[in-house]
């Protein structure tokens, strides 16, 4: 094992009230030479004010292009145990529900071939295991995919479909309006080839939220955000509304004045909602969940174009399909056809490293809609409370 090195700069990160990854890596370093060299290289990065990792290279398993992110040290002579330090992504179960046995199986594999545990889930949703060598990758894949119980697959990385992820949905949440777990599982199986073989201009993400509260931030973090919603009227229990008020609840200040479309009113006895003008933001239901409930005609809103800054700045998804029925067991064919149409258009026109939202901005919403065979709708706005950003084709505009 490499001799333990002093890490005064990293030690600073252990001070303060928060848990520190440095403390955890130090614990792992007691048994792991790569964790020890990881500390040394990280300290050097703080001294030099630059990262000492080289990103890329050819690391994968037979037949796959996604699931492993290659990383090499640029100072291997100083830190030979982190010369290779690849990340393995493992496809998580819908909603991150693991049995302890499944987690133990993963931990056993990682104890043999990995550097220790630094974090468990990445932003994409997969189980991420950091720090293994090139020669171990195929073995890791063979072992996780042959677990006696709960065999696992690699997740997505590269210019392909990233592992779909969802909130816990109906398993734990009273607000779930769609079966996020079933949709996520179904889409993962359906598009498995897109997940493992990089074929597109860049990455594409699907995230599924059970309701407009969007606890998994699908609108900001995914190219395709699927959010549970309803299209009939909000259900009102007027007795319960009056009970809230009788208990001193400030219905005017906390609910009615905060409604983004001002579609609610309360006359001291009855609460009225102009449902045609409701944007289904859920604020009123969150505040008065004993009196207000979502409607019964449930489905999903599909938004396209969310992403973090790469070519353009950070973008949120735009509503493309205001409502789509997504019943468990239906096969979700309409949703799958929509995704395929969007990917085909993007694959044909997108530049390298251009996400679908950036392509829509570059080529315009009308080209996107014509490409996927959809009509413009009033919900298509650049940003909340902004003008629609569909521009009519010149031949469709009637001049005076």
């Amino acid at each position: 094992m490499t001799e333990a090195k002093k890490t005064p700069l990293l030690d600073e990160l252990e001070k303060g009230p928060w848990p520190s990854f440095v403390k955890e890596i130090k614990r792992a370093a007691a048994n792991s030479p790569s964790a020890q060299d990881l500390l040394g290289q990280l300290e050097l990065s703080y001294v030099d004010k630059k990262a000492h990792w080289k990103h890329g290279g050819l690391v994968g398993v037979m037949g796959y292009g996604g699931g492993v992110i290659g990383r090499y040290s640029d100072v291997p002579e100083q830190f030979p145990n982190v010369e290779h330090f690849h990340t393995v992504r493992i496809n998580q179960p819908s909603g991150w529900f693991y049995t302890t046995k499944a987690l133990r199986q993963v931990c056993d594999v990682w104890e043999k071939y990995g550097s220790g545990l630094t974090n468990l889930h990445g932003s994409t949703g997969d189980l991420v295991l950091l720090g293994t060598k090139t020669e171990h990758i195929q073995t890791i894949f063979d072992e996780i995919s042959n677990f006696e119980e709960h065999p696992m697959d690699l997740g997505g990385s590269g210019s392909n479909l990233r592992t779909p992820s969802c909130c816990a949905g109906p398993a734990r949440c009273e607000f779930a309006l769609i079966d996020t777990l079933d949709i996520c599982h179904d889409l993962t199986n359906e598009f498995q080839d897109y997940l493992h073989r990089p074929m597109w201009p860049y990455k594409s993400k699907i995230k599924i939220s059970g309701c407009p509260n969007d606890c998994v931030a699908s609108i900001a973090r995914s190219d395709f955000s699927i959010q549970g919603t309803w299209r009939d009227d909000i259900k009102i229990d007027q007795e319960a509304v009056r009970a809230y008020v009788a208990e001193g609840f400030d219905i005017e200040g906390l609910v009615i004045s905060k409604c983004p479309t001002k579609c609610m009113s309360f006359d001291g006895n009855e609460l009225t909602i102009d449902n045609a003008n409701c944007t289904r933001c859920m604020h009123c239901i969150n505040k008065m969940c004993k009196a207000l409930r979502p409607g019964d005609d449930r489905g999903a809103t599909i938004l396209v174009g969310g992403k973090a800054p790469i070519l353009q700045g950070a973008m949120m998804g735009w509503v493309i399909v205001p409502f789509m029925k997504l019943e468990p067991g239906s096969g979700y064919q309409e949703l799958k056809d929509f995704l395929e149409d969007c990917w085909a258009w993007w694959d044909e026109h997108g530049k390298t490293r251009e996400r679908i939202g950036e392509l829509i901005l570059r080529l315009d919403m009308r080209n996107f809609l014509r490409g996927i065979g959809r009509e413009p709708i009033p919900q298509m706005v650049v940003a909340p409370r902004a003008n629609p950003f569909f521009f009519w084709w010149p031949e469709e505009v009637e001049q005076d």
Partner: protein, 72 residues
């Protein structure tokens, strides 16, 4: 499909790495067909996917480790 796979392998003989879209343009095939052929070739172990900022395909066995000097 077998003929297309042969064309892809022959094209990749002459380059270090390439994206499926460019391969499709160069050999005059549909991108979707090239994607399917690449997928089969990867499962057969004849090509590999490579990630350097974005994804490429390359013939199996070519060394693309960053910083390693190679003769192309």
């Amino acid at each position: 499909m077998e003929e297309l796979k042969s064309q892809i392998l022959a094209f990749l003989e002459g380059v270090s790495k390439e994206k499926p879209r460019v391969i499709a343009e160069k050999i005059g095939a549909k991108k979707r067909d090239v994607d399917k052929a690449c997928s089969e070739l990867a499962k057969e172990g004849k090509i590999e996917y490579l990630y350097i900022g974005t994804s490429f395909v390359t013939l199996a066995g070519k060394d693309h480790t960053p910083g390693v000097i190679r003769e192309e």
